[in-house]
């Protein structure tokens, strides 16, 4: 049961080592990296490769740690009480299972993805420590203890916005997805567009990496933008020479909307084009 990447996902050697070690020791794997470098998709692919169900917990700025365990909907119970609903006598009707509970109870070993943990409150990871360590927790309302049959495989992603607490980090394996170099990128493109024209990819990548190098960009285009852009280029049947004869006065790549998502960045490119025209 080793993860070696999949038909649709390119895993570098270091990533494979981290995933496999984390899965074997059943310790959470924390994955960081620029937006769009395949952090979320990784969990899906690991689940697919191991034939495990994927349970996804998307973290938002308002997410609280206890919501991963369960929520007790006292308000609904009050309402039902008011209406004389029979359900009100059983508190279990108002306990809503969280993703951790779901993962602990899963009949087959699942992959639990905790996506974008950095979005939550700074205390969030600490609040989960005990449950992740013990792989069990108490439901006070029903005096139950929920224990994992088997420790799930946990993948946690972070966009790097926030420092995570030490105590939490010590328990994890860590992998930083380095922005793909050309070879890796080529391989990623190949899995998404099998049989795509090599020359087109070469040119598109030239432009892509050049765009990424332009100083002052607010949002550098990432793997996902490159893939979107290629899809557009293919859909529009962009003649190769439009990419190839790079006219310096046209600093803006064709269909740039897919690459540059930020208005200021588009303006930056227009300015570069303007300067190039003046010099030329």
């Amino acid at each position: 049961m080793r993860f070696e990447g999949t038909k649709s996902y390119v895993a570098t050697d270091d990533l494979k080592v981290a995933v496999n070690a984390a899965a074997l020791l059943r310790r959470p794997l924390l994955v960081k990296g620029e937006p769009g470098t395949g952090k979320t998709v990784l969990a899906e692919e690991v689940a697919k490769a191991l034939g495990a169900p994927l349970i996804t917990w998307n973290i938002k700025s308002t997410t609280k740690a206890h919501q991963g365990l369960y929520e007790y909907d006292a308000v609904a119970r009050l309402r039902d009480g008011q209406l004389g609903d029979e359900r009100v006598h059983d508190i279990r009707n108002y306990i809503k299972k969280g993703k951790l509970w779901e993962a602990f109870e899963s009949p087959v070993l699942p992959v639990l993805l905790i996506d974008e943990i950095d979005k939550a409150d700074i205390e969030f990871p600490n609040d989960l420590l005990q449950e992740l360590d013990r792989m069990s927790f108490d439901v006070y309302e029903t005096h139950e203890t929920i224990t994992a049959k088997e420790r799930p495989i946990i993948i946690i992603t972070s966009n790097n916005e926030k420092e995570l607490p030490d105590a939490f980090l010590r328990r994890c394996f860590f992998h930083y997805i380095k922005f793909p170099d050309r070879d890796t990128m080529q391989a990623i493109i190949d899995v998404h567009f099998p049989g795509i024209q090599k020359i087109l990819v070469g040119k598109a990548m030239d432009i892509f990496y050049e765009v990424r190098d332009v100083p002052g960009l607010k949002k550098k285009p990432s793997t996902s933008e490159l893939l979107d852009w290629l899809k557009l280029l293919l859909a529009e049947d962009m003649p190769l020479d439009v990419l190839q004869n790079k006219d310096p006065t046209k600093a803006i790549p064709p269909l740039h909307g897919a690459l540059l998502k930020n208005e200021q960045d588009v303006m930056l490119f227009e300015r570069l084009a303007f300067m190039a025209r003046r010099q030329g």
């Binding site: 070690a21 008011q82 070469g202």
Partner: protein
């Protein structure tokens, strides 16, 4: 040897403990990896390093600790084997071109050139930019290289004996975070705390009590949790000495953007006048009239100025005092307009507080701010945020 590793990591400032060490041993014990130096490097890296800013240091420590052990690997890391070069050349060049090149000189010379070119390209490649043959300056002419479909890096990975950790691929990550990372993080925490204030309860107790009293039965009222209630307008002094600080503050706030309902920023130079701008390269062509800003953003915005307030006092007190343009109205007038429009306004000053007394203009600005000037330190930031969230 392993303990030495741990000590060296800690000496390099990597926060590794016995806990990680035990995890590493457990992983080895359970055969998590194939026993190759490379896999061991990857494994220990993912166990010990939890911050990408430390990856480069880890590489250096690893190199130091395991150097003796792995000498058979990569004895001459930069050397590119000649037969591989030849293979690449054949892929790169058409037979005609090869012939043409060969007519230029001996095969060795050509190989020398090609090797140099590849090394340059490799360097550039690792810097993440251009590919071979993008310019027309090659002695082989415009069409000298045809890189399409050739994966130089991929092949070189096996041929070049450079070890992964010797490549120091994460070097720039460390540099960029040098700027008092820890302080920034703590400051960010303060900012988040600031942003969180004003988040509402989920159960609207008052409405529930009112409703229940009126209706005679339990009448629950819920209120959406109003997160990120705080709206911030930043004014950043740019130009010269202020720039590193501005960058810092910009990064700080933008790292916290998820927390703010709205966060807007504008630039100014030295003192606020009738125009501000959003893009420094277009500061003269694309200005936003300050009036427009004052009208557009409601009074409940919190205003944060960031500047050293060091200038000639005339720049604040006199029309035409600006060093860059002719201002019809004095900067002080504009400062008044802002403080009158927005009750919650502070000025953050990166200059040490002890020096403020020596600068006439700093005193003037501080007065204009009704004393709400704070040093750009953790405590200063804390005080400033407290001031901003005070009931106005």
């Amino acid at each position: 040897m392993f303990f030495n590793f741990l000590d060296e990591l800690r000496a390099a400032g990597i926060n590794a403990s016995l806990k990680e060490h035990l995890i590493l041993l457990e992983a080895l014990d359970k055969d998590a990896i194939e026993r190759t130096p490379e896999q061991f490097y990857y494994l220990s890296r993912s166990v010990f390093v939890k911050d990408e800013g430390m990856l480069d240091r880890f590489d250096q420590v690893f190199n130091k600790v395991f150097k003796g052990l792995l000498t058979e690997y990569g004895t001459n890391p930069q050397e590119i084997p000649a037969d591989w070069l030849r293979a690449v050349a054949e892929k790169f060049l058409t037979p005609e071109e090869m012939a043409k090149i060969e007519s230029l000189g001996s095969w060795d010379e050509i190989m020398e050139t090609l090797k140099k070119r590849l090394e340059e390209q490799q360097e550039r490649h690792e810097g993440g930019n251009k590919w071979i043959g993008t310019g027309g300056t090659s002695p082989f002419g415009h069409s000298g290289y045809n890189p399409e479909g050739v994966r130089i890096g991929g092949e070189s990975k096996h041929k070049r004996a450079l070890k992964v950790w010797e490549k120091r691929e994460f070097q720039n990550l460390d540099n960029t975070r040098e700027l008092g990372t820890r302080n920034i993080k703590i400051a960010l925490r303060r900012l988040r705390k600031f942003a969180r204030e004003g988040a509402a309860e989920e159960l609207d107790i008052k409405a529930t009590i009112d409703g229940t009293a009126r209706q005679g039965w339990l009448d629950i009222h819920m209120r959406p949790e109003r997160r990120n209630a705080i709206k911030v307008l930043l004014f950043l002094d740019v130009g010269g000495s202020m720039d590193p600080f501005v960058k810092l503050v910009e990064e700080l706030f933008s790292a916290a953007t998820a927390e703010f309902k709205n966060l807007e920023f504008f630039y100014f130079h030295n003192c606020l006048y009738e125009g501000v701008w959003k893009d420094n390269k277009r500061r003269f062509s694309e200005r936003t009239p300050t009036w427009e800003v004052l009208h557009k953003f409601p009074h409940d915005y919190k205003i944060v100025f960031v500047g050293d307030a060091a200038m000639s006092p005339y720049e604040i007190t006199h029309p035409g005092g600006s060093v860059e343009h002719f201002n019809e109205e004095a900067g002080a007038v504009w400062m008044h307009r802002v403080t009158n429009t927005y009750p919650a306004t502070v000025w953050l000053n990166p200059t040490p507080e002890a020096h403020w007394g020596y600068s006439q203009s700093t005193k003037v600005i501080k007065d204009l701010m009704n004393d709400r000037m704070f040093p750009l330190t953790l405590d200063g930031l804390e005080d400033a945020m407290r001031e901003l969230t005070r009931k106005h």
